[in-house]
């Protein structure tokens, strides 16, 4: 414990410390010399390209990928073009920018994923310099071409190339530059001798850092802080200028007195830093510069690189991996020599308590008197988070726990979550995993991303453990990891389909929210169609299976799955796909076996493609439907000839369907149409298209009785119908003479009551009366009443001795006028009732 401050160095108000993270596990003969190195931030992987400078034409450079602790992840000889720059994306993919502007993308294990080009202009003028940067929009690539122009892509997953304006007077690559994100735009800051320019989409603006010492004749290095908020420059006079990246404010300027240009420079800040500071590296020397005139000097034994982080700088050399950072506030408070901060006292108190010394109480009392105990606990917990050594962490947490005992309502969340976080962090910092995350970085990157990182490294068991330990909701945590695992599993070529399918289903069985179709897609993409089909079987939502099945050209299966899903839109998608994919015959055949799909397609055809509908029926030999189809078509057709032709087709189809009734009916219709046309031509009456009944009515109403008769005979119209029809038509015309003739022509099949009623309806009592006598006895009463002849009705009713009829008549009598009649009726009613 006493050694905690051993590696602390003061600079101005603050302290800086350099912690060793790992002793590198790799075995590099020449260290990092002559290597192209790229290390991903947040403790990500390290890529090395060795042997770039060819010693013999046959020697190829070697690309190697290591974890942060130097454990090899991949290694392969580089066979493509000359690499200018390596870099990592936010999703742990390796970018290799070639001289010709082609960018190759590899995964963590050296598997080639894809490549893309930075445009013609770049490939023509070649790449001079490249920077790979991260912004809220993803990972970007910026290129300075041989033509001294900048080309930029903000997000490599959605490439939109931008060519930035020309920089006046820029000559050669000796100048330095940096990418920064400002006002939701990526800009390039470029120095040309002592001039500084900001390039954005439209303009090249000259800028001057406020208060830059005039001794400098040129800027030799620029670096932007991790958050893009700050900017540091170093000039050929050895001055380091630090300020805000909008160049509005100067924070400090320090003279390093070293005139050689540095190899690398990086910001060394953390959120809530006490002072701005940068790390500048030369051969064998590392300098921390801050606000004061003093600097911290570290000696470097070996070729190293700096990796800027959110809260410090990592230094990677051929043998070691270190973290240089400003000592966080809480740690400083507690461990600073002779500190009287509450946290420091609490730590002391706990130490004494362990020694079973009464001094513990004294210390505690001192804190409590100032009522700073909860502050003390908080400090200890926070400091524990910033400490790298588990031992130190434990000591601090124990002290915090001890202090908590004397507090009644101290919220436990901070303590508990810190314990959990540290457990996870210690696990991933482990040498075998090699992700040296600080607590600040962890909080910034979130657990989700950490799990992704673990998954990219195929550390599935660890990822699942972490999820379970931190109680992440299943669909966000364990299920996601399992899905990735399964996607990886299905790509393992050496195992058989059955084994893999079984393994996957067993592992994933009870995990919530697993999409088997996604896994199956992976299987298909790696060329294992059979496995994909097997996996799809596990997918409970049949709708999800369809798109992949289609992609795999398993159309019948896709169609039946779509139908199974009950989602007609999906069925429709498949049907439309099949329609374009298959030839007509096969397409129809397939529909034939799937009634649901067939009726859907029919619905569509009805509105869009009438002819296809016909073909469909034809294919099925569905003559009945074909007949119906033609009938329907016929009454949409205006021209008579065409109409009759369509009906003829319908007749043929009906005969084929052995539906004689419909065939005959249709033939009748054709006959009727011809008849109507003939008559229309002769008499000029518009008749075509009306039903038989209407036609006859019309003929009768214009007095063409003979023609009506002809139809009556030709179409075997039932007598009753004809009588009703003629009766109505004549009455309508008030052709009473003809009506009488008609009544006498032969015995009416509908009786004569309708005659009476029809006349009354036309208010012709006189004519009505003519027919009353002809009415059958049963209807006599009604007939008499209809013409208003109460007495006649009474007569008939009495004769018929029907009680109900007598009552009907009675109800129509008025007591004033038909007094006598009523008496008679009542009497008759009585007798009828007796009987």
């Amino acid at each position: 414990m006493a050694f905690v401050t051993a590696n602390w160095n003061p600079l101005g108000e603050a302290f800086y410390r350099k912690i060793e993270l790992y002793e590198m596990g790799w075995n590099l003969k020449d260290g990092l010399r002559e290597c192209l190195v790229a290390a991903a931030p947040y403790g990500g992987p390290i890529a090395l390209l060795k042997g770039r400078i060819r010693r013999s034409p046959s020697a190829r450079p070697q690309l190697e990928i290591y974890s942060s602790s130097g454990l090899p992840l991949a290694s392969f000889p580089w066979k493509s073009g000359v690499v200018k720059q390596l870099g990592w994306t936010v999703t742990d993919d390796l970018l290799c920018v070639q001289e010709d502007g082609t960018v190759l993308v590899y995964d963590l294990f050296g598997g080639f994923k894809r490549h893309f080009s930075m445009g013609n202009e770049v490939s023509q003028s070649q790449v001079l310099d490249t920077k790979i940067f991260h912004s809220p929009y993803g990972t970007g690539v910026a290129i300075l071409t041989g033509a001294l122009r900048f080309t930029l892509a903000t997000n490599i997953d959605d490439i939109k190339l931008r060519r930035l304006p020309e920089v006046p007077g820029l000559q050669g690559a000796s100048s330095c530059w940096a990418v920064l994100t400002q006002d939701r735009q990526c800009k390039v800051l470029v120095a040309n001798e002592s001039q500084l320019f900001i390039l954005d989409n439209t303009a090249c603006t000259p800028v001057t850092p406020p208060g830059l010492s005039p001794e400098a004749s040129s800027i030799v290095h620029i670096c932007v802080s991790f958050s893009y908020k700050y900017l540091a420059l170093i000039t050929d006079s050895g001055h380091v200028w630090m300020g805000t990246s909008n160049l509005k404010e100067k924070l400090s300027e320090v003279d390093t007195k070293i005139k050689t240009p540095p190899k690398q420079m990086a910001w060394c800040r953390r959120p809530k830093s006490q002072q701005p500071s940068a790390v500048v590296m030369w051969d064998g020397l590392l300098l921390v510069v801050g606000e004061s005139k003093e600097t911290i000097k570290y000696h470097l034994d070996d070729e190293s690189i700096l990796v800027p982080e959110l809260d410090g700088v990592r230094i990677i050399s051929g043998t070691h991996h270190e973290l240089l950072q400003e000592v966080p506030g809480a740690c400083e408070e507690i461990f600073k020599i002779a500190s009287m901060a509450p946290g420091a006292l609490l730590l002391e108190a706990h130490k004494e308590y362990e020694k079973e010394s009464q001094k513990a109480d004294e210390y505690l009392r001192e804190i409590k008197e100032q009522s700073l105990l909860s502050e003390a606990v908080r400090q200890c917990v926070e400091a524990a988070g910033h400490e790298h050594e588990p031992e130190t962490q434990k000591t601090l947490l124990r002290a915090a726990s001890f202090g908590k005992c004397f507090l009644s309502n101290f919220p436990p969340e901070q303590f508990v979550s810190m314990c959990r976080d540290l457990r996870v962090l210690n696990a991933v910092r482990d040498y075998t995993v090699g992700i040296p995350l600080t607590h600040t970085q962890f909080k910034q990157m979130t657990l989700q991303v950490l799990i992704d990182r673990l998954v990219y490294r195929k550390l599935y068991p660890l990822a699942i453990e972490v999820c379970r330990y931190l109680k992440t909701p299943e669909y966000l945590g364990v299920s996601r990891v399992l899905k990735h695992w399964a996607c990886f599993k299905v790509q393992q070529k050496e195992e058989s389909d059955e084994v893999i399918a079984k393994a996957v289903s067993v592992k994933l069985a009870d995990a919530a929210g697993i999409s088997y179709s996604e896994i199956a897609t992976k299987a298909y993409e790696s060329g294992r169609t059979e496995l994909a089909i097997k996996l799809l079987e596990f997918e409970p939502r049949s709708g999800e299976q369809v798109p992949l099945l289609l992609k795999m050209k398993k159309s019948p299966l896709a169609l039946s799955k779509a139908i199974e899903s009950g989602d007609t839109d999906l069925v429709y998608t498949v049907v439309m796909y099949l329609k374009n994919e298959l030839n007509r015959g096969d397409f129809f055949m397939m529909l034939r076996n799937q009634p649901v799909a067939l009726s859907l397609y029919r619905q569509f055809c009805k509105h869009q493609e009438q002819d296809t509908l016909k073909d469909l029926f034809n294919q099925d030999d569905d003559h009945e439907e074909l007949g119906n189809f033609y009938v329907k078509a016929s009454y949409k057709e205006k021209r008579l000839e065409a109409r009759i032709a369509l009906l003829q087709s319908a007749v043929d189809e009906y005969y084929k369907a052995k539906n004689e009734f419909s065939a005959k009916a249709t033939e009748d219709e054709m006959r009727l149409l011809r008849f109507q046309r003939k008559l229309e031509e002769e008499k000029g009456e518009p008749l075509v298209g009306f039903p038989l009944h209407e036609t006859m009515t019309m003929l009768l109403s214009v007095g063409l009785h003979k023609h009506a008769e002809q139809l009556y005979k030709d179409f075997r119209v039932p007598d009753k119908r004809f009588w009703w029809l003629k009766l109505k038509a004549l009455a309508e015309k008030e052709d009473w003479e003809e009506l009488e003739k008609f009544a006498k022509s032969k015995k009416s099949p509908i009786g004569y009551l309708p005659f009476v009623e029809v006349c009354i309806k036309r208010h012709n009592k006189f004519e009505a009366k003519k027919y009353v006598s002809k009415v059958t006895p049963e209807q006599k009463v009604k007939a008499h009443l209809a013409v208003g002849d109460v007495e006649g009705a009474a007569e008939a009713a009495i004769e018929r001795r029907s009680e109900s009829e007598i009552s009907t008549v009675l109800s129509r009598c008025s007591s004033t006028t038909d007094h006598l009649l009523m008496e008679r009726l009542n009497r008759a009613k009585a007798t009828a009732a007796k009987k």
Binding site: R541, G566, D567, T568, D569, L570, Y572, T573, M576, P595, V596, L598, S599, L600, R602, Q603, F604, H607, Q608, E624, N628, V631, K632, Y635, K636, F661, S662, A665, T666, D668, E669, F690, P691, L692, H693, F715, V717, P718, K720, R721, W724, L725, K728
Partner: protein
């Protein structure tokens, strides 16, 4: 007798919430197209839309002019066109043509299509095929349910019936599922689900899937039981003439989206009046479920009461008069207005319905239901066709005959069909083909000798015994389902007994005591038995597909007899009639529970049969 509510009747959930949800979403969608715009609305969406958001609200959200979609070229000077439509191919095609003609004319406009209740892939395909996919934006207005009344919810999808049952196009199934899901998410989960029919089953499946995808909510349910029923389970009921007031109004004046337009003959003035028919209308609320024969008496009593209320004015001092004018007069005036309207309507209906024809029609119907005097019925129908009384009515009787008799004899079938074609034209060949497809109007197949034998026996023996014989035979026969069902569930009360329509004894009162609607009887039986046990034979005769599932919320099991347990949601797939709703209201009163009807649309015999006509005006 006015049907008063039982005092212990459970409270119904507040369905106005559904309207508010729909309105908010619509406004949100309209705001997605900022600035002035013209709105084109599908004709059949006009009335439902009016219930949700009136013109003022639309104007507030920058709708400039409103047009009805007529599938014709448009005259609009607006630069932004918004279409609020059902997802139909013709409409989308029309819009595509519009966009294309604007394009050729070099006119630039913004187009937005809002599909309701959802969009279909087929519609998007049309946009794509017509090459306008990129020119229009599409959206969905998830307006699934329109509350027509306190206890009637409607999807307002009349085409559901034809699409689903006749064309075999199941795309509306998901809509049904979504509607249930919506109800569940707003009003809590259901504890028990019953159903019968293929479509019912599919709707249930689709809903279950939605439920599994969505988050589980365990809140106090507002109704616990659901019954899903396909329209094709029971075609007889909607084919019968309605004689309960509300049904009769629908049959004669056609209630549209909960409102009806009374013509000059009703209003006794020269203009038509649109009236909302729901429980807010106090007069209507009291007579809606009454048999028509009681309505007049009730109305005249009401008129007398009203008069007395008015008469109170006499002998009032100034103070009382002031109070009267302030408190009562407005209510009385309102009631007066409504009363005179309903009296007018009743008179007009009376004129139409007491005619000889109607009486005979009813008699024929009842004979068909009972299975007596079939020959006479056929003659009657024949005359009906020959005299061209009404295209739809004739068809209705034919279907009723066929269903109750399990198909027509070949000879009858052909002759009736031929006559019908002579009356109404050859294109009805298609209508007949459609009716045959759904089994509404069929020819008995040779070999079905039993029914042939029946009719022969029927000629020899007098009709009543023949009826009994039919019953005996039908239990043997494979398909004679209506008779057997009727017997099994005693749908047709014994004839000869007097039925006092003033004091209804069972649900048969809605058909003058002649027939208990099969659909409602099924619901009654299943609820009583809490499942299908004991009804195996019935469900077999109805082609099976029945189910009873206990829902997700098992916690609600414990709270038996809460209000929610006594509210039953009945979903009719393919429409239901007002008579059925009246019957369910009656049943609810008897059983001390309440029914909420969720239907794809309100139907009646005419609407049902019109769905079978092919492109007929």
């Amino acid at each position: 007798m006015a049907q008063t509510e039982r005092r212990d009747a459970p409270e119904l959930p507040d369905f106005s919430l559904l309207k508010r949800l729909a309105r908010d979403q619509l406004i949100f969608l309209l705001e997605q197209l900022p600035g002035k715009k013209d709105l084109f609305i599908d004709a059949d969406l006009m009335s439902p839309l009016d219930r949700i958001a009136n013109v003022t609200i639309l104007k507030q959200h920058e709708v400039d002019k409103l047009y009805k979609v007529e599938l014709k070229p448009i005259v609009s000077s607006s630069d932004q066109l918004c279409f609020l439509i059902r997802p139909r191919i013709q409409t989308v095609k029309w819009i595509s043509e519009l966009v294309n003609s604007d394009k050729t004319a070099g006119r630039f406009r913004r187009y937005k299509i809002i599909f309701t209740p959802q969009k279909f892939y087929a519609c998007e395909t049309v946009l794509e095929e017509q090459g306008v996919y990129g020119d229009v934006t599409t959206d969905e207005w998830n307006f699934y349910i329109l509350p027509l009344d306190d206890d009637i919810l409607s999807l307002e999808l009349p085409e559901f019936f034809r699409d689903n049952f006749l064309e075999g196009d199941q795309r509306w199934v998901t809509t049904g599922g979504s509607a249930l899901n919506l109800l569940q998410s707003v009003y809590g989960s259901f504890s028990k689900i019953y159903g019968i029919g293929r479509c019912a089953k599919m709707v249930y499946e689709s809903w279950r899937e939605l439920m599994e995808q969505g988050e589980q909510r365990t809140r106090q349910p507002e109704f616990a039981k659901v019954f899903l029923i396909d329209r094709d389970v029971d075609f007889v009921t909607p084919l019968c003439s309605q004689v309960v007031y509300e049904g009769l109004v629908d049959d004669i004046f056609r209630i549209k989206c909960g409102s009806v337009e009374f013509g000059p003959d009703v209003t006794s003035s020269d203009k038509s009046i649109k009236v909302m028919l729901n429980s807010q209308d106090k007069v209507f609320n009291e007579i809606r479920n009454e048999h028509f024969s009681n309505v007049f008496g009730f109305l005249s009593q009401k008129a007398k009461n009203l008069q007395t209320a008015y008469d109170k004015r006499r002998g009032m001092d100034i103070q009382q008069m002031k109070a009267f004018v302030a408190d009562e007069l407005k209510g009385l005036k309102q009631e007066h207005r409504l009363l005179s309207l309903h009296i007018g309507a009743s008179e007009s209906m009376m004129k139409k319905k007491t005619k000889q024809d109607f009486q005979e029609l009813l008699k024929t119907e009842h004979s068909l239901l009972e299975g007596f005097e079939i020959r006479e019925c056929i003659t009657c129908i024949e005359e009906h066709i020959n005299r061209q009384v009404s295209m739809i009515e004739s068809l209705r009787l034919l279907c009723l005959l066929s269903i109750t008799e399990n198909g027509l004899l070949s000879k009858d079938y052909r002759s009736l069909k031929a006559q019908y074609l002579q009356s109404y034209g050859i294109e009805h060949l298609l209508t007949f083909a459609n009716l045959k497809q759904l089994g509404l109007l069929e020819e008995q197949q040779a070999g079905e000798t039993l029914t042939v034998m029946e009719s022969k026996v029927g000629k020899l023996v007098n009709d009543k015994t023949a009826g009994k014989l039919t019953d005996a035979f039908s239990s043997l026969a494979k398909k004679s389902n209506f008779r057997a069902l009727s017997k099994k569930l005693t749908l047709v009360p014994k004839s000869g007994e007097e039925y006092d329509l003033r004091v209804p004894r069972d649900m048969a009162y809605i058909f003058s005591g002649a027939y208990i609607p099969l659909s409602c009887k099924l619901i009654e039986q299943v609820l009583e038995r809490d499942g299908w046990t004991g009804l195996e034979e019935v469900s077999r005769m109805l082609n099976g597909q029945e189910f009873a599932v206990t829902g997700g919320s098992s916690s609600s099991e414990a709270r038996t007899k809460t209000d929610a347990q006594r509210i039953v949601l009945v979903m009719f797939l393919g429409g239901c009639t007002f008579s059925e709703i009246s019957a369910l209201r009656f049943l609810g009163k008897e059983r001390g529970c309440r029914f909420i009807v969720l239907t794809t649309a309100i139907t009646n015999s005419a609407r049902l049969l019109e769905a079978f006509l092919d492109n007929h005006p």
